[in-house]
């Protein structure tokens, strides 16, 4: 058992930390969030230059061939800095999914470009009625000669507005909740019939409702076997879930630190408010939540690529429950302990609060994962 980092990993963390400290301060982030696109090409290119976009790309395709642990380390840093660029969607989930399922030519074409920052791809999977159930897919892909025609709707797809390519899941057979019968298609952003209704999210991100109005794609756009994409989609989402937990951990740690600092410096009744025992205990509970979440984030990183699907589901659900509950408790407590200041847009505190609130409900909220865990356990 070893929870330590290798020298190389530590260096990697330090480099990234220096990058966000220098180039991704609160003011810079605000400018990016307020911009038309809502993310920065310049930052994206820097991430490519630092090699972070290549973490999940095999060496064969110009990547670093690292895995979930390095992804976790990067996400810790991005969580603290509240990075809004589509890292999780493109460099983690879509990249992992392409590695897993795409054919040789697509990989050779796309992976080096994803690693180099020239392309952004996003998985469009969840639907209005799926409510966090991964297998629930109603979108359809009808065979039409040498082509497929895609129809349906994908709900609140994070970072879709930034993507040049969408990886769209759609049913080639079966019923909405069947595990089989789902295929995956590589759909270019400018395909006729593909409509993105874009909107900003609470936490400063961008998302889109994705409408597929008879989008026609060549048979070669299908990634993997017909009707066989579900396991790969789940594997990619599991890697994404682990990364999301790590992002939460990074954000919680930073928020926790900011709160402790505030308790020491804010004075009321002629003393630092950190002297009030009720606040001390709340802060102690925040730390306990944080440590539990940190543990589960490690577990998620080390088990999210496990072969045994049932075991993997159990581990990841357990992690999301603990992390999600910690997100809720730490975010609420931090605002409460800051008093009115916690409510202002002016402090980073409220921005961590909003990101943690969103994370709690991303890829299944705590309750859904608790239920899934209970069902898998029995």
């Amino acid at each position: 058992m070893d929870f330590g980092l290798s020298e190389e990993q530590q260096q990697f963390v330090d480099t990234l930390g220096r990058f966000v400290a220098r180039d991704y301060g609160f003011a810079r982030r605000r400018t990016i969030v307020d911009s038309q696109e809502g993310w920065s090409k310049e930052v994206w290119q820097s991430l490519a230059d630092l090699g972070v976009l290549a973490i999940n790309v095999p060496e064969k395709y110009g990547g670093l061939g690292f895995g979930p642990v390095e992804t976790m380390l990067a996400m810790n840093v991005f969580g603290a800095a509240l990075l809004v660029e589509p890292y999780l969607s493109s460099a983690v989930i879509a990249t992992s999914l392409l590695c897993d399922i795409a054919g040789e030519s697509v990989k050779a074409e796309l992976l080096p470009r994803l690693a180099g920052g020239e392309r952004i791809a996003v998985l469009a999977h969840f639907e209005p009625a799926s409510r966090f159930v991964i297998a629930h897919v109603e979108c359809s892909a009808r065979k039409d000669g040498e082509r497929y025609v895609l129809e349906g709707q994908k709900a609140a797809v994070l970072d879709a507005p930034a993507a040049g390519h969408l990886l769209v899941s759609a049913r080639t057979s079966g019923l909405p909740d069947d595990d089989t019968g789902v295929s995956l298609f590589l759909v270019s952003r400018d395909s006729p019939g593909l409509v993105l209704r874009e909107f900003p999210t609470l936490d400063g991100g961008r998302a889109a409702e994705v409408l597929l109005n008879k989008v026609s794609v060549p048979a070669s756009a299908r990634l993997g076997g017909e009707g066989e994409a579900m396991p790969a989609i789940e594997r990619a989402l599991d890697i994404g879930l682990s990364a999301l937990c790590a992002e939460a951990v990074g954000a919680m740690k930073a928020l926790q630190n900011a709160t402790i600092e505030y308790l020491k410096t804010r004075s009321q009744f002629d003393q630092p408010i950190g002297r009030f025992q009720v606040l001390q205990h709340r802060a102690a509970d925040m730390l306990i939540h944080f440590e539990q979440a940190q543990s589960m984030s490690y577990l998620a990183a080390m088990r999210c690529t496990a072969e045994n699907t049932l075991e993997r589901r159990r581990m990841l659900s357990a992690a999301k429950v603990v992390v999600g509950q910690a997100c809720r408790f730490i975010a609420q407590s931090a605002v409460q302990l800051h008093g009115g200041m916690g409510m202002t847009d002016e402090l980073m505190v409220s921005h961590w609060f909003k990101r943690l609130t969103m994370i709690e409900s991303t890829f299944g909220d705590s309750d859904s994962h608790l239920q899934r865990f209970a069902e898998l356990a029995s």
């Binding site: 969840f126 209005p128 009625a129 409510r131 966090f132 159930v133 709900a155 609140a156 909107f199 999210t201 609470l202 004075s267 009321q268 009744f269 002629d270 009030f276 009720v278 606040l279 609420q332 605002v335 409460q336 008093g339 009115g340 916690g342 409510m343 202002t344 847009d345 002016e346 409220s350 921005h351 609060f353 909003k354 609130t357 969103m358 409900s361 909220d365 309750d367 608790l370 239920q371």
Partner: protein
Amino acid sequence: MDLDFTEEENAFRDEVRDFAREKLPADIHHKVMNGLHLTRDDYVSWQRALFARGWGGVSWPKEFGGPGWSATELYIFEEECAAAGAPRLIPFGLRMLAPVLMAFGSRAQQERFLPKIMSAEEWWCQGYSEPGAGSDLASLRTRAENCGDHYRVTGQKTWTTLGQYADWMFCLVRTDSEVKPQRGISFLLIDMKSPGITVRPIITLDGGHEVNEVWLEDVRVPMENRVGEENQGWSYAKFLLGHERTNIAGIGIAKRELAHLKRVAKAEMKNARPLLEDPLFAAKVAQVEVDLMALEITNLRVLSTEKMGPEASILKIKGSEIQQDISELLMQAAGPYAQPFAANYCNQRKLSIYGGSNEIQRNIISQMMLGL
């Protein structure tokens, strides 16, 4: 012991309900029911409608032009208005300043200010908190220098709710810094159009503009705009805090929001069944519902004694927690489409911070009710 309302009270309830159904404009109703942003005019037009009906000074005694309702009638009124989707009454003039003026103001002040509060001709804001004086309000530092026929006021107030609309601000200022902090505070009425006042917006985490900073620089306040005696402001403020908390439980609003939650959770599907039938979610909704049921009766018990002591703290803590729980569940229920509910959830964090934070309320309970 009897838990039922009297026949007269039930008749009164019908009267309020009919009134709200008839007089509440549909667009305002829609905004309130969906947690949307209300404009200044929305608040004003509702207050004017009440005024036209003779209910402008809802909580006021007859001698000042109010309907002279009992605490129970007022409770019924509030519950019905909330259920109907009426805007909350802006409390600053109506519920906070007015009782102070009635108890401690001069006849001239009463005649000058009370009617225009009732008719919504003048909008008031509350200038208590300062950057350095939040929970420890008595440490406030905004200075008022006695210049014979007027005060010269310099300092900064903050978190001033809807101060951007205000014509007037009631304000706590320091008039003596040599004595114990509580002893050197006075209560002034300040015209927001006075030279030297700057109002700056504070944007909150939900992106809204509902609070402000108010900067005062050599603001001239005529002596006749001091309420009561110099250096006695703290006791008036404490009197006021008791009134601030009378509607703090927010039962009517919580009931309305709970009904909203159930509608959303019924429409939202999970595993091909309404979310409201999901055992885990249903249990959470049930939990808030029973909490609310208990609080409603606790609230009525407190009201029936017609005096509000530290019990108000129980109502404030439980009431704010219940409203926050409901906002959390609404956000959860809406799943991927939680965006509008999420903003409301963020905004509702204020409930446990303002009007005396929930930590401060627990201090009050343990000190004043438990003698600890």
